[in-house]
Symmetry: D2
Subunit: 334 residues, 4 copies
């Protein structure tokens, strides 16, 4: 309550909370009175206590998500993607081209991924791009290419879906659906992938707090799908030396708050090829359940994000890191 709140104003708050079925405990100090509310938080939200006369501030103490919270589900959930188990005992290396461009490029990238130790193939058929003049992806044709190459190379496929109405189509080809950073709060899309019965990789919005990210996962979980893998991919800050700032702390923070696995994307966060190997090592060491990395047979001809795609010596270094480091941290490569 505000320092000058009256008893009547205090009573109004307490009565309203009790009228809504909650409990209100009053702590009176010399300068300030605090009212502790206990009960159904979502119900309290509709009371608009912030607007009551005499109320200085309303501070929420409990977490606003339930199904994805570790409070209600203490063991970390592994997520199974067509036989590949992600977390907590495994480390999963996911690799592939940023975008599916041609069957040949995708096949070459898939073999690069497999030879480097990847368990899953990534590749985009639908590409959300900042500029309307940039390459937007091959669409369903790209999905067909991915499905053919999965059969040939033997790696299950992770691919992005950008529109709720494409979810059935993408799910018909893919083993795991990816929600990109710009769609983390596209709630219709979250609900659609929540109903589809396939695992989902949910990238963090570049502007999203960890709490908002977990709330977005809650949207998916609420529709019955708990096979969610979170993906930290960098947040927007004032630093311009990197495309985004990889929030490496998000991995242990999420592990403390939620039972969902979390992987790291070192390619899109930094936007620079020379950072991919060191950031991948950091991700393994910090305890991530996996990484997802861009590779391309010819980065200088890539239609999307060529400057960050790995090839040759860098990829060899990453192969070694992914093979050697996870066992030291108690994980086997999945």
């Amino acid at each position: 309550m505000a320092p000058d709140a009256t008893s009547e104003q205090l009573d109004a708050v307490v009565d309203t909370v009790r009228g809504a079925g909650g409990s209100a405990f009053v702590s009176r100090g010399v300068h300030r009175t605090i009212v502790g509310l206990v009960g159904d938080i979502e119900q309290f939200q509709t009371l608009n206590l912030q607007t009551f006369a005499g109320v200085a501030d309303v501070v929420r103490i409990s977490t606003p998500y339930k199904l994805v919270s570790r409070d209600n589900h203490p063991a970390t959930s592994p997520v199974n993607v067509a036989g590949v188990e992600i977390g907590p005992a495994t480390f999963t290396f996911i690799a592939g081209p940023c975008a599916v461009e041609t069957p040949e490029q995708t096949l070459a990238a898939a073999y690069m991924a497999k030879n480097a130790g990847a368990a899953l193939l990534r590749g985009g058929a639908y590409k959300p791009r900042t500029s309307p003049y940039a390459f937007q992806g091959l669409g369903e044709k790209g999905l067909q290419i991915l499905a053919e190459i999965r059969d040939e190379v033997g790696l299950p496929v992770v691919t992005e879906v950008v529109d709720a109405h494409d979810v059935d189509t993408v799910a018909a080809y893919a083993d795991m659906l990816q929600i990109g950073t710009r769609n983390m709060q596209n709630f219709g899309l979250l609900q659609a992938v929540g109903s589809i019965g396939k695992p989902v990789m949910l990238k963090r919005g570049m502007n999203a707090t960890i709490e908002e990210w977990l709330m977005a996962a809650e949207y998916i979980a609420q529709r019955g799908n708990l096979d969610i893998v979170l993906c930290e991919r960098g947040i927007r800050t004032f630093e311009t030396a990197t495309r985004n700032t990889l929030d490496i702390s998000a991995v242990p923070v999420v592990h403390a708050l939620s039972h969902l696995p979390v992987v790291v994307d070192p390619s899109h966060s930094g936007g620079r090829r020379d950072l991919v190997v060191p950031l991948s090592r950091a991700a393994i060491a910090v305890g991530a359940d996996g990484i997802i990395v861009d590779v391309h047979p010819h980065p200088d001809q890539a239609l999307c994000d060529g400057p960050q795609a790995l090839v040759d010596a860098d990829l060899d270094q990453l192969t070694a890191a992914v093979r050697d480091l996870p066992p030291l941290l108690g994980r086997r490569l999945s």
Copy 2:
């Protein structure tokens, strides 16, 4: 070029640019060589020069948007919404409830708006909410309520659309379609409203640079719809005293870069009722083409954003500001 770039590396860059139909001008210094590229920028993007050996950095000089740029369209475009003209000679006051809850609440809010001097009625039927447990709006039923109240009160209606597949439905009821902050880079939705033939209000993403915002407007414009009004509604920063930080400078910056009108949302940026009047005054003074404000007959019962909705004395102050200040800055109230 990097300080240790070789002549061969320099030649490779120059040859590639010329092969793509561009011109490359070489400026050689003691420590560094700079290559200036002139030609079709979008074409250059596909060359991936950043990945070439010997290249230190690629810096883009020209703007990546065209249709919404003032360079190609020096006069500011007024946008006409069912007879209400937004910018550059007018100041447009848009008001209404955050969400349509009931016909009675919406009607009362609409009369509050009209009596305060508003020319357009805002109100949400589809509400994207961070929490899946929060009120999500009435959907098409809300649109019907809005349409009935428009006929009764005589204010054209602005309302949000959150899914590309609802665009036809929303356009059937609304006079102007609003794209919310979380959908600023929902490219499918942008393209859909670009094809619908009704004016669009494009809110800035809370994480978006001004350049990205103009690129999002370019997505709409590219489909043939140039009736776009931009809306600054605050960006995400480290400051926690306000929900977001209103970037008031964005108004003159956008006016310098683009011919589109720009309005300000003082309600959602601050998230506090006590800031709405001072921020509205600031918006008028900085040269905005309008403001869009939440009003509610009973903020303490509002299902959405009650703490920022105006009522009573605050609304009277805003009414006075909207009536008195624009003429001093050379604008008439539309």
Copy 3:
């Protein structure tokens, strides 16, 4: 408390708080128990309750500053600078060159300021610069120039002090001492100006929350100097179109929290001459107690921040704004 906290853990917290002379009120819910603390907050800080077993989180409710808080001092304090009254009934226009370069340049700028309606002259003799290769100011020689020009032109002088050991020297020449954005948390310097008996202008750190800014003011106030004027000058965000993002909302937020006057610096926040007039108008309209603006007789020869200094037509526009707008908002020009 954490959901799995034991009664013993709860008792340990309660006993510790009571042992320190405070009161602890326990609110028990089904899922969570909240302990409300009432008493001497600074004392509680030393208890490290966050480190106790079973404690999930510690949330501070009361404000951590006292002397500058409006809670304890409801009326806004005007600050008197050599006869010029800053706030709450006045609007004070402060202008002058970013840096004192020569007597001629400073004199010309001082007359520009005076003719435009300024009541105080700004000008830097000590310039903290990001680059060690940039112009660092004239030092005491610059102070002498300022003092001579004050006598000639008749405007009291505001100038920056960057080192605690220069405070006496600067105070010997200046009417008001300025603490720059990079020194907002230079606590030795804050304490030094707190003991000097001259008014202080405290610029907000470009990275500082409003709470931290008020805490910095508290450092000055604690030494007995309450003649503090706060200056909002933009914060660092991801937006790159402006040098910093002017946080215009900070003005009413500070007015709600503190009794100190607050002015706005539209020159350094935007870093662009074309933004100075619109941002100045916004500052007046939002309720600022003044503005501080760079002017220069020859911006293209300025040794510091030439791109933002006003001259000619822009200055004429600002002169008109400063003359016409404050009366409409109930203030007289000081």
Copy 4:
């Protein structure tokens, strides 16, 4: 140049650059003309080209620091602190209490540090604190305690200096001087430690870009002191789950730009004890030259930052990480 720049305006720019001893290369395109400048960049800064008529934008291509740049000094410089070598072949573990409180507490913390494998002892005698009501350190008495404990335990001492006029005093006791995050742009202090002939640890400002951080190091180097170790300690972002966001990418980015070693502070960046071990592992893996960690024998009684100090099981885990991981990345523990 702006699209509508005239030939005269272009000539004025070219003539001015040439008059200042530089070269100007003109690249003319259909829509835009670019002028490339080659010569003494610092000289160009004083020309204020941004203010010239017809100039649309000035973009700096070369780096603004020289002495600390890898361009001019390709090999990484190890820094020797009283016999302890920091980088590039070593990994240095620095540990100790946040603040020196008593001889007993400091001694106990020093033995904790040594037993855990630390090569240097950290500990603060001068503590810059956001609140004037918080513990401010013991001052010179704290330095004496540190010096005595160094002799007893055998670990060289790193301690913070907050005022230019204390540099001689601190240097008389310490083996390495630390510049804290709030003083990264306290230029007088930087210059003072640049003249003192002892190694310096320069923490990154929580609001500073990497470029500004290297510019601050340049201030020190310019006075003749190149024994500088950079320390990444988190930057300020919108995320509130951690005190600051550890910018782990800064380590490889700095290594690419500068020859100086860089260490990581996992304690102050996260502000949470449970993050220290995972972030330390990440720092080792990403290639940092060391870490600096808070330890305390009784965190619940610490006068400063108790919630992040390590003790017991966490410290055992860190001991193991520091012993086992660096050799895998080709470094020996120093």
